[in-house]
């Protein structure tokens, strides 16, 4: 058997991950054509590369179909209930930084914190006859955060992309999304309120459910020595 290492199959996240491993003497290369999802791991024994969509890596880790995987800590916490019982973070990789935040229109100067948002949500419901809408794809994280803060009378509407535009498009009153520089929020006339809900970065995770033979344990331990984690 071998250790299966899941890595995002495209884009910046893949390139940065290859660089991170490369800098530690573990060389990952794509094989075949650019379009073929196959690759090779050199510098350690017993590690097999699995290229996957970043969004599917949490699920594969939780199910134990891969032993290690690189993805954002935000998607792990969003997608896997009680993730800490199934997946363990081994090392933050120092890139892919993003903060999950809640934002409202800049003209809402009466909303300074979540307590204000709660009061506004209550008034909004009475004025408009429906609950204040927050557009997001991070349903679980946002709901948990708002519940802890005691915010009620809102509803989440699903938005898988271009979330900052939903307010101007009148499909939501507020948004919850990840941001790294805040430039998109600013361009869409939105401001952040409350604390950062989650500080995410690309992280190497280990599955706690995948089976490991004694030989695999040896491979894993060698890999961790090599990576100094």
């Amino acid at each position: 058997m071998t250790i299966k290492l899941g890595i995002p199959s495209k884009g910046r996240l893949m390139a940065d991950t290859f660089d991170w491993f490369g800098a530690r003497g573990v060389t990952i290369t794509r094989t075949g054509t650019d379009r073929e999802y196959a690759g090779r791991v050199d510098g350690v024994d017993g590690v097999e590369l699995v290229l996957l969509s970043a969004g599917e890596i949490p699920r594969e880790l939780a199910a134990g179909r891969i032993h290690l995987g690189v993805t954002g800590s935000d998607v792990v916490q969003e997608k896997i209930a009680r993730w800490e019982t199934k997946i363990a973070p081994l090392a933050p990789l120092g890139f892919g930084h993003a903060d999950l935040i809640l934002a409202v229109p800049k003209t809402w100067t009466d909303v300074r914190d979540l307590a204000d948002l709660d009061a506004v949500a209550d008034a909004f419901r009475r004025t408009h006859g429906f609950r204040l809408r927050i557009a997001t794809k991070y349903h679980r994280l946002v709901r948990a955060h708002l519940k802890a803060a005691g915010v009620a009378s809102y509803q989440l509407v699903d938005s898988q992309g271009a979330t900052e535009g939903t307010v101007a498009n009148l499909t939501a009153e507020a948004i919850a999304d990840i941001t790294s520089t805040g430039a998109t929020l600013d361009a869409n006339h939105l401001k952040v309120i409350g604390d950062v809900m989650h500080k995410s970065q690309a992280t190497l995770f280990q599955s706690l459910t995948a089976e490991l033979s004694n030989k695999d344990k040896g491979f894993l331990s060698d890999l961790r020595v090599k990576l100094a984690i």
Partner: protein, 353 residues
Amino acid sequence: MTVKSDIRAEANRLRAAFEARGAETFEPQILQPAGALLNLYGEEIRARAFVTQDPLRGEMMLRPDFTVPLVQAHIDATRAETRYTYAGEIFRRQEDDDTRPTEYMQVGFEIIGHAPGPDAEISADAEVFATIAEALAGLPVTGTIGDFNVLTTAILGLDTPRRRKDALLRHLWRPTRFKALLDRFSRPAPPVPAPADLHIPHVGLRSPIEIETRLALLAEEAETPPLKSVEVDRLMALMAIRSTAPAAVDDIKDIAGGDEDIVDAARGVEARLDALAEKNIDPAALRFEASYGLTALEYYTGFVFGFSAAGVPTVATGGRYDLLTATLSGGRSIPAVGGVIRPDAALALKAAS
């Protein structure tokens, strides 16, 4: 572990006992339209109920309780006072604790649409409590009661504007937020923010007028004196009451000081204890907790109760839910009180004793 057929048999036995007490059987669909439930509970229900999609009917929910569909059916049929019973599975999503079941049986007894007024309320409250207690006779359970009327009376009696009282009442079910609001209202309000610069484009459905209105409200807040600490302390003391029922009535009266409204609320608890005594339930054997039921689904508004025992889930819970019937009927007053038993817990207790 008790087998499902035994639980079902126990549920049917309990339902038959409630039918013998004059209740008619209600059998709702397992799949309920999600709209009414979402409107009632908001986003929090999504974390607690299973939502699914029907291509033609839209969002549906596996029923998280019987009460909401029952009240809707009662309203749709424009019934007068009716006693209902039901037995069946309810479904609760568990996001944090996989030891809690996602489906279990409930058997209920509910009185909907009884006559208005304190006497009819006391009588219906006592009838539901006694009927559930009778069904659990012989089991080593402890009955606990509470009465939201005590806390809401204390909140409405605060020397502060109505909007602050409404905010507190709205969050009575969220203890952390409630405490944060009390703290906020106990300090001088922060300075009022300025309106946005005119060159910042306004986006979104919430209009500039709504923002102006709230800024004016915040200005009013800034002028509002903080809550008096003696009143806050009294409210906290009332919330903390946990005692045997007769002693709790004395505690409420003591804490009330001279406040006639709170003393009246204590008399309401006393009147319920008297009504229970007439039904051969010993008030001295009951516990009273002023905050009982505060973390449940937020529809109880007056008398609440539960029966519990060590080592099993809460065996039965219930209470008055006049606000729920008012919300679902578009503001009509339909007095209602009910309770449910978990037959699995009842059976587990029987097996243990």
